[in-house]
């Protein structure tokens, strides 16, 4: 038995209306890689926020190296050797790597010495970084390296990692795991938060599973199957979506050799994109965040116009048409950002239904809104897609991520489109809602529509896609049939970790 490093005893935290953590106790040994497993909303984030001093527990106590430990703020946690890599990176785009690292340290050395230490540490752990670059220009994988190096420079005893692999390619994940194992061997304990079961089984010594704010079990993940863990985590049996085999139909959407400049200074411009989407086909587009996914969606939705003839829908040029004109012709989109892009947060579900359904459902006549019809449309989306809400008058902001996502995707599917383009359809959505959304997309394809899914979740794409391509720095690989593709092959298509060493050499 390893010597215990941190012991949690009966931690409880309530927010108005929710008991986020209910009497949670477990311990983490020195040098142990301990998984914290649970769905969104299971209370993982609240728990680590308490350990990192961002939130004070209502009840219970923590014991670090046999001393009572109650950090009032993150700096106190850092002084005690607790460091954290955040899920949504706590980085500053307009500052350079060294400045970002310095901001996360208690007593940073002068920037010039720090730059040297960043180089040394990052090389020691196989995470090359150039301290002088602006963070806004880095890839997601590199940004995570900044966070990790920032923690490592403080010589932590406990490293908390919140969903670290959600933005990495499989090869980058391998490198990260090697780093984590090296750290563990050196005696640093790691609290690893994730809902990716295979990763946890490959990496972690012990796992604590949370569900609905309570601890369900502590176990050795390598002795359990992924299915067992999933059922512990979800509390119910999951069925994978069905996908009957079917022949490809005619070409619905075609993009030819399209290059497009991004309208965002930190964005990625699209370069010579070509692909075809057939009737009844689910085309999955993989890629690590920031490789042009947003731009691809904006280009297809019509928010960024392109040369008319290079984007065609059923043979008609639509490149110059805006989103509404494209909707009328049968191309609908559901962007990644739910609040503010896919839905207007401070408007009711009915109003949000109107925003995309106005034309195809003729909800507006002679310039007047037919509220009765709109209401009925919103209600049918809520009913058919199992959106849990008191009614269609509720503000979009008030729905949980999964419910709003079901509403947003359902709204587009209800328009009976010929082509639907979705970006990250199940990002931040709980497992049962995710499988519901996937099934709905597959049903739409079976009914003869073309479905284009942009996603960073490889498991999701493998599950639903018929054909497959990857975005890498704004370029799209050739489309390949999904059958027989391995995760390694996909990783290579995504540009993999091929850039890890060369990127470092180029920096010198």
């Amino acid at each position: 038995m390893r010597q215990p490093l941190l012991r949690l005893e009966g931690l409880t935290k309530a927010y108005p209306g929710v008991l986020a953590n209910d009497d949670i106790s477990f311990q983490i040994g020195t040098g142990q890689i301990h998984a914290l497993l649970g769905e969104n909303g299971a209370g993982k984030s609240t728990l680590v926020k308490m350990i990192f001093g961002l939130v004070a527990p209502d009840k219970g106590q923590m014991i670090l190296r046999d001393q009572p430990y109650a950090p009032a703020q993150p700096s106190e946690a850092r002084q005690n050797g607790v460091a954290m890599v955040f899920q949504h990176f706590s980085l500053f785009d307009a500052l350079d790597v060294a400045e970002n690292v310095a901001l996360g340290m208690e007593n940073p050395p002068p920037l010039r010495d720090l730059a040297k230490r960043i180089r040394d540490v990052s090389e020691e752990y196989g995470l090359p970084l150039d301290p002088g670059r602006l963070v806004g220009e880095l890839s997601a994988g590199e940004r995570q390296r900044v966070e990790i190096v920032r923690c490592l420079l403080q010589d932590p005893k406990l490293l908390i990692m919140d969903e670290p692999t959600s933005v990495l390619t499989p090869q980058e994940v391998e490198i990260l795991f090697r780093t984590l194992r090296q750290l563990s061997a050196e005696g640093t304990a790691i609290l690893y938060i994730s809902h990716k079961l295979e990763e946890i089984r490959a990496l972690c010594d012990e796992a604590t599973i949370l569900r609905g704010g309570r601890k369900v079990a502590t176990c050795d993940p390598s002795e359990k199957s992924a299915r067992d863990l999933a059922e512990l985590m979800v509390g119910q049996v999951l069925t994978p979506p069905e996908r009957p085999a079917k022949p490809k139909g005619e070409v619905l959407l075609s993009v030819e050799n399209l290059s497009l400049k991004s309208n965002n200074p930190f964005g990625t411009s699209l370069k010579e994109i070509s692909f075809q989407l057939h009737a009844g086909e689910v085309l999955g587009i993989a890629g690590v965040a920031g490789n042009g996914q947003d731009e691809l969606l904006l280009m297809l939705s019509g928010e960024i116009p392109s040369p008319a003839a290079q984007v065609t829908l059923k043979g008609q040029p639509i490149g110059q048409l805006g989103p509404n004109a494209r909707r009328v012709r049968g191309l609908v989109t559901a962007p990644e950002e739910r609040l503010g892009h896919a839905a207007a947060p401070d408007m009711s579900l009915t109003a949000n239904a109107l925003l995309s359904g106005a034309k195809r459902k003729t909800l507006v006549q002679n310039g007047f809104i037919d509220w009765k019809k709109t209401e009925a449309f919103a209600q049918s989306v809520i009913r058919k897609f199992d959106v849990r809400t008191p009614g269609s008058h509720v503000l979009a902001r008030a729905l949980s991520g999964g419910n709003l996502q079901k509403f947003v995707i359902g709204r587009e599917i209800e328009l009976a489109p010929d082509v639907i383009v979705v970006n990250q359809p199940t990002w931040g959505v709980d497992a049962s809602a995710a499988s519901f959304i996937r099934q709905a997309l597959l049903d739409l394809a079976n009914a003869g529509a073309g479905v284009l899914v942009i996603s960073q979740d490889l498991d999701e794409l493998i599950e639903i896609a018929d054909s497959f391509a990857a975005l890498n720095e704004g370029r799209l690989t050739a489309v390949r049939p999904a059958k027989g593709l391995t995760v390694e092959a996909i990783g290579l298509m995504m540009g993999g970790a091929g850039d890890m060493q060369p990127a470092h050499e180029a920096a010198e």
Binding site: Q73, S90, F92, A94, L103, L134, F266
Partner: protein, 310 residues
């Protein structure tokens, strides 16, 4: 030749005087915006400084005390803004506009008895032999001390933002307040200090108008200088030296068009009067255009209210 009647050395000297109030206000607002707060009340804080500085200087007979009073007056008004936007979470744009209207109204009341009064003179800084250098001495070395302190302030702000740790934290708060909070920095505290600094600078800028440039008190005497300062900050891409270049350009065109008016150039006066605004903005837009670089962008959290969720 009409332009022959304009003495370049006098022109440069006058340009520096014309630019200083705007530069002071702009450098303060630059720090405020770098911290992620958009304070549209610059005009109000400037007129507050102009009025209070004038009143204090007249009553004590000391311009130095006048300037201190002006800084405190601007700061007091900015604290009101900080209270509204940081503690009570009101909308920054609306609060800033209200601050401007409030400042203009309040000073009209406070300054009523001071219209037509002459303030104590601010002496020129004696730079000895430097002032006797032909041309250069007249243009650069025969000013009051505030002009030099203002340039020093620009340098200090530049150094602070670029090299000091406190400046780095301030930029971090302005760039991404959620991340800064997650790392344990006090977003509201940093912002409140920045707002106070901005208020003090705007107050000093106003006092420079009423005590040195004009020097007199009239109601609403800032006539839009605060707004120009706000525009300068944006078009200078939030960089101190560029803001200074913009302010001097603006001052230069103001002085030049006044000289041209005096010299009787056959361009309608209205066009000449609007030229400083047009030229300054055109040049700064030209400088800041075409570069989609991170460093020329607005701070990421500018004008977004911060509320620590849990």
């Amino acid at each position: 030749m009409i332009l022959g009647s304009i003495n370049p050395a006098v022109l440069i000297a006058a340009l520096m005087v014309a630019a200083t109030p705007i530069l002071l206000a702009a450098i303060g607002e630059l720090v405020v915006e770098k911290a992620g707060v958009l304070n549209l009340g610059v005009e109000g804080m400037m007129i507050m400084g102009a009025c209070l500085g004038f009143i204090v200087a007249v009553n004590t007979g000391s311009p130095v005390l006048g300037f201190i009073g002006a800084a405190l007056g601007g700061m007091a008004l900015s604290l009101l803004f900080a209270l509204l936007t940081q503690a009570l979470m009101t909308n920054q744009v609306a609060s800033g506009l209200a601050l401007t209207l409030f400042g203009l109204g309040l000073t009209a009341l406070l300054g009523q008895q001071y219209v037509g009064v002459t303030p104590p003179r601010t002496p020129r800084l004696d730079l000895g032999p430097l002032s006797d250098i032909p041309f250069l001495g007249r243009a650069f070395f025969s000013h009051d001390i505030v002009i030099y302190l203002t340039i020093a302030l620009v340098a200090a702000v530049w150094w602070f933002l670029k090299y000091s740790r406190a400046g780095m934290i301030l930029r971090a708060v302005g760039e991404n307040h959620d991340a800064a909070h997650a790392l344990g920095y006090h977003v509201k505290r940093v912002r409140t200090f920045a707002i106070m600094f901005g208020g003090a600078c705007a107050g000093l800028g106003g006092a420079y108008l009423s005590l040195i440039r004009v020097p007199q008190w009239t109601e609403g005497m800032t006539v839009g200088a605060g707004w120009i300062a706000l525009a300068l900050v944006v078009f200078a891409s939030w960089r101190p030296w560029r803001a200074m270049a913009g302010a001097y350009l603006f001052g230069g065109v103001v002085v030049l068009q006044l000289n041209l008016q005096a010299a009787g150039v056959r361009i309608p006066v209205e066009y000449l009067s609007m030229s400083p605004y047009l030229i300054t903005i055109a040049v700064l837009v030209f400088i800041s255009s075409g570069k989609a670089r991170a460093s020329s962008n607005a701070p990421g959290s500018l004008n977004r209210p911060f509320h620590a969720s849990n």
